[in-house]
């Protein structure tokens, strides 16, 4: 039966390339069709669009277009006092804003020579793992949805919402938490938090078993994802690929392990890798990473101090001058290496802040390469499997 669906042709030979390795697309030949995929396409992860050239239903050429979300965050921050950047940074990445908050605060604290209290360290770690869990839960629905399995999205979005409930009671916000404030965090765990969290985690684990049965042990899903959208091992460094996209190809890049920050040195975990980075394996790796997050949250809740100071003493935030210097702070988000490059010139305003979102590399040069010879119907699935968030590209 499997033979029936398998067309083992080397598609990369089509269409023929010229001596520069490029195809000559002559639109007037009426062989090709140019079309926009996005920015409103449901399979597009956020507001970006692909300008694709099709031959039949096969992509011959593609260009990523961004700019629909450009608010010039990096530039805006140069006009704002450091504390005023704090409510901005989370907006760079909607589904996991906390990594922005952490990287921004960490860079600033490093330059200003501020050590955050122990409790704040653990709470930050907790929030980052919660963000990872929430982001994966949202992503998993997207991945399934892109291949027509709407039900998974319904389940996992509910699960994500249960995580947002915990965010809400801890941070005061559901989506943008504005919790990791320079100097520490903004609140201790509310009473009964751990217990409610544990209930959520149990439910998520239980539902993930169903997701496993319905999504992963699913002939259709496998058919469409196995051996699709392969990331070769030797592309990893060439394209700046990080996170699960790299780990699935067997390169164990994980900032949590490589440059352990916050409470990670005290947590017990192994970086999860796979050996063949196709859509299926990447999805499976993220599923395992999601379960790892659950485990980490449990470890954190068990080990963290119960009370204590949550914010270090800092200068008056209204005129906090960060000493001249520059640094790069990074963390592992669901999509890979998240980093803030901060340049301070000794004034009350940052001189330059540059955000490295993983999507920046994944959604442009990598996607544009991988999408060639992809079937039109698979584009959404391929994109989601790279797990990209457009605001990071244009910041």
């Amino acid at each position: 039966m499997s033979k029936l669906f398998n067309i083992k042709e080397d598609r990369s030979l089509f269409p023929e390339k010229n001596e520069h390795g490029k195809i000559d697309i002559d639109l007037s030949s009426h062989k090709y069709l140019k079309m926009w995929h996005g920015p409103q396409h449901p399979g597009i992860t956020g507001n970006m669009s692909l300008e694709i050239t099709l031959l039949g239903d096969e992509v011959m050429d593609c260009e990523t277009h961004v700019g629909y979300l450009h608010r010039g965050f990096e530039k805006l921050m140069e006009r704002r006092k450091y504390i005023q950047c704090f409510p901005i940074v989370c907006r760079v990445s909607v589904p996991e804003p906390d990594f922005n908050e952490y990287c921004f605060a960490a860079a600033m604290e490093e330059l200003a020579g501020i050590e955050i209290p122990e409790t704040a360290k653990w709470l930050r770690t907790l929030v980052l793992e919660m963000a990872r869990l929430a982001s994966y839960l949202m992503w998993i629905g997207g991945q399934a949805g892109a291949f027509g399995q709407g039900i998974i999205g319904q389940w996992t979005n509910y699960l994500r919402d249960s995580m947002l409930d915990r965010f809400e009671e801890l941070t005061g916000g559901r989506v943008y938490h504005m919790y990791i404030i320079p100097g520490g965090v903004r609140g201790l765990l509310p009473a009964g938090f751990k217990q409610r969290m544990e209930e959520n985690l149990k439910f998520i684990e239980q539902m993930m078993q169903d997701v496993d049965k319905v999504m992963f042990n699913n002939a259709v899903f496998k058919k469409r994802s196995v051996d699709m959208g392969i990331i070769e091992k030797d592309w990893i460094y060439k394209f700046g690929i990080t996170g699960p996209n790299a780990r699935a190809a067997g390169i164990p890049l994980d900032v949590r392990k490589d440059n352990p920050y916050l409470a990670y040195p005290e947590l017990d975990f192994e970086t999860i890798t796979a050996s063949h980075s196709d859509i299926y394996n990447r999805a499976d790796l993220r599923r395992k990473d999601l379960l790892l997050s659950i485990d980490l949250i449990r470890q954190i809740m068990a080990k963290m101090p119960d009370g204590g100071e949550i914010r270090a003493e800092t200068p008056n935030v209204l005129h906090w001058k960060v000493p001249k210097g520059e640094t790069y702070s990074k963390a592992e988000c669901t999509r890979g290496e998240y980093g803030y490059y901060m340049v301070a010139d000794g004034t009350e305003y940052p001189r330059r802040i540059n955000v490295r979102g993983p999507s920046y590399t994944h959604a442009v040069s990598l996607l544009e390469k991988m999408i060639i010879n992809c079937n039109l119907a698979d584009i959404a699935g391929l994109m989601v499997s790279l797990h990209t968030y457009p605001p990071e590209i244009e910041r």
Binding site: Q84, C85, W155, E168, L170, G173, G183, V220, K222, P315
Partner: protein
């Protein structure tokens, strides 16, 4: 048989068909979490309209607006924050930084309205359903600025109780920077400073380590910064917004820091007063107290040639002859005054107007006259025995100490009075007793009970540290005299000092009596003015109110248009008012002289 399983396994999804739905049935009724950052609330009476919330809001969502029923008064701008929810991003930084802790957020997040303009309102003033909700975001248990004052280094009691060395040592650079950092730059203090000094601006200059700029800002409104940086009554600090949830900024010490750090020889260069164009007009000034000096300074800057006539051998008025040296060292007075003299101001010492020269003569020789002659006559309790020669006035003794003259120091001293002057004489006499006898035996007693004693709290504490006994709440009734010698003071319990209308009208309980032994008594219950230099004809033309006080306009000009008056004889009660009066009078004199020609 994985393949078959892959086809069957997804069907397990069907089991969810019979499960209870998880969705919230009535989403609008869902309550936000306890900490939720929903619509703002503001305790409108607690808020002081400092605008710190507006400053931190990176979305420019907050405007300060006048609100009906809220008066502008000292310490309250009368404005309140209005929030534009088209811009607010719910970060709650405004809540976290609110200086009074009046601002918070409710956990209400659902509000449906068709008119977008309704989402622009003044929390606390425009009533909203969530105003009384307990839940929502409140300022967490941390501070975005330091609410605690940087400690000032001071001499310990044992290091100071025998000498007149300055007690307060001044801030180091690190301390000054840390203290200046606490300021939120709201500027509420400016209105309360009698001279309306640019306080947030000079504090900012400290933060930027630009002390020359700081000095220029000081001199815009105050030509006696070394003095005020030490002994100003610092009313500004009583309204400091940071004081609502912590200690107010040490505005006075920061002013002193700027003045101390700039060397006197550089003042003229920094202040750009190396050369001043003269306008050929002359102004006479009577008295070299703060009001006279301030008038002279600002007139000199405008090009007037100023001559100050001073009764005493040195300049400074009460600043030199009243305030004790341990609070205000003479070299600091000299630093301020010498700079003013360097602008070409001349002082004729030991010259009493009304005796050596008449006021009429000054009018003839000068284009205008300013008088700031202060309050130098002691007031007596007039109780039996108060006419004894061992009963003194505080101001007379303080003047003699400053003049370097020997004063009588007895074994047991009682001071009557509860104000700062009483404490000054108490602490001065304590030092002298300590020098002479190696011990202190001085009792200071006031009508007022401790909580309403007019003296500054620190003065009372420090006086006690220096072993003075301060016993408030007693009314003096008689000084016991035996063989023309003072034996002590009879007092009765004072129940209240002011009546319901707030008028001075003390009530006593004659049955509760006390006796303080003494062989010397000092009265310090206020001073009166000596206006004998105003001749009868001048007095006749001078408009006065029904309490006999000279009436002046906003430029401190009397009804005799060439005569301007200020300082303690008009307003008082402190140096900074004198400075402000002198400054305004200088502007008035300039106007007057310009209009004359």
């Amino acid at each position: 048989m994985g393949k078959i399983n892959d086809i069957l396994s997804p069907f397990t999804a069907w089991k969810h068909l019979i499960r209870e739905p998880l969705t919230i049935k009535k989403p609008l009724e869902r309550e936000g979490a306890d900490r939720y950052r929903g619509f703002h609330k503001n305790e409108i009476d607690k808020c002081i309209g400092c605008g710190t919330c507006e400053d931190i809001c990176q979305n420019a969502a907050i405007d300060l607006v006048p609100v009906e029923g809220i008066e502008t008064k000292h310490g309250d701008s009368g404005l309140r924050p209005k929030i534009d929810y088209g811009r607010c991003c719910w970060c709650a930084l405004c809540v976290d930084i609110c200086t009074t802790n009046s601002l918070s957020m409710s956990n209400e997040f659902t509000w449906i309205d068709e008119d977008a303009d309704n989402f622009l309102f003044v929390p606390g003033a425009d009533a909203k359903p969530w105003d009384n909700s307990e839940k929502g975001w409140k300022k967490p248990n941390y501070n975005l600025y330091n609410p605690n004052r940087v400690e000032m280094n001071e001499l310990h009691p044992e290091e100071r109780d025998k000498s007149f060395i300055e007690i307060v040592q001044g801030y180091s650079k690190g301390q000054a920077l840390a203290e200046a950092d606490r300021c939120v730059e709201c500027g509420i203090c400016t209105a309360t400073c009698p001279a309306q000094m640019g306080i947030p601006e000079y504090i900012k200059a400290i933060r930027n380590d630009n002390l020359e700029e700081g000095l220029r800002i000081l001199y815009d409104t105050n030509p006696l910064p070394e003095i005020c940086g030490r002994i100003c009554t610092h009313k500004c600090e009583t309204v400091c917004s940071v004081g609502h949830q912590g200690d107010p900024i040490s505005i006075r010490w920061l002013k002193r820091y700027i003045a101390d750090q700039n060397p006197s020889e550089k003042f003229k260069k920094i202040l750009g007063t190396d050369t001043i164009e003269q306008n050929g007009k002359k102004v006479a000034i009577i008295g070299s107290g703060p009001s006279g000096l301030s008038a002279a300074h600002y007139l000199a800057l405008m090009g007037y040639s100023c001559t100050i006539f001073e009764k005493l051998p040195l300049a400074g008025g009460m600043m030199r002859y009243g305030i004790p040296e341990y609070r205000l060292p003479y070299d600091q007075i000299d630093k301020d005054i010498n700079y003013i003299l360097s602008l070409g101001v001349e002082i004729k010492y030991n010259t009493t107007i009304g005796k050596d020269i008449t006021l009429e003569q000054l009018n003839k020789d000068y284009d205008a006259v300013f008088a700031g002659t202060g309050l130098h006559l002691g007031r007596s309790t007039k109780i039996p025995g108060s006419d004894n020669k061992n009963v003194y006035f505080a101001t007379d003794l303080l003047r003699e100490i400053s003049l370097g003259n020997e004063i009588p120091i007895e074994n047991k001293i009682v001071v009557i009075g509860g104000g700062n002057v009483a404490l000054d004489i108490t602490r001065s006499m304590a030092r002298l007793q300590n020098q002479k006898y190696g011990k202190v035996n001085i009792i200071t007693t006031s009508l007022e009970s401790e909580d309403i004693m007019p003296a500054d709290r620190e003065e009372i504490i420090e006086g006690r540290e220096e072993q003075a006994q301060i016993i408030p709440g007693w009314g003096p009734i008689e000084i016991e005299i035996e063989n023309d010698k003072v034996k002590g003071l009879h007092v009765v319990k004072c129940l209240s000092v002011f009546d319901e209308d707030g008028r001075f009208n003390p009530k006593f309980d004659e049955n509760i009596k006390n006796f303080f032994e003494a062989d010397m008594i000092v009265e310090s219950i206020g001073q009166g003015m000596d206006l004998s230099y105003l001749s009868v004809s001048i007095k006749e033309n001078l408009e006065m109110d029904n309490r006999g006080r000279i009436i002046v306009n906003k430029h401190f000009q009397s009804s005799i248009e060439w005569l301007f008056l200020g300082g303690d004889i008009i307003q008082g009660p402190d140096v900074i008012h004198g400075i402000a009066n002198g400054h305004k009078a200088a502007i008035g004199i300039d106007n007057y002289i310009n209009n004359k020609k």
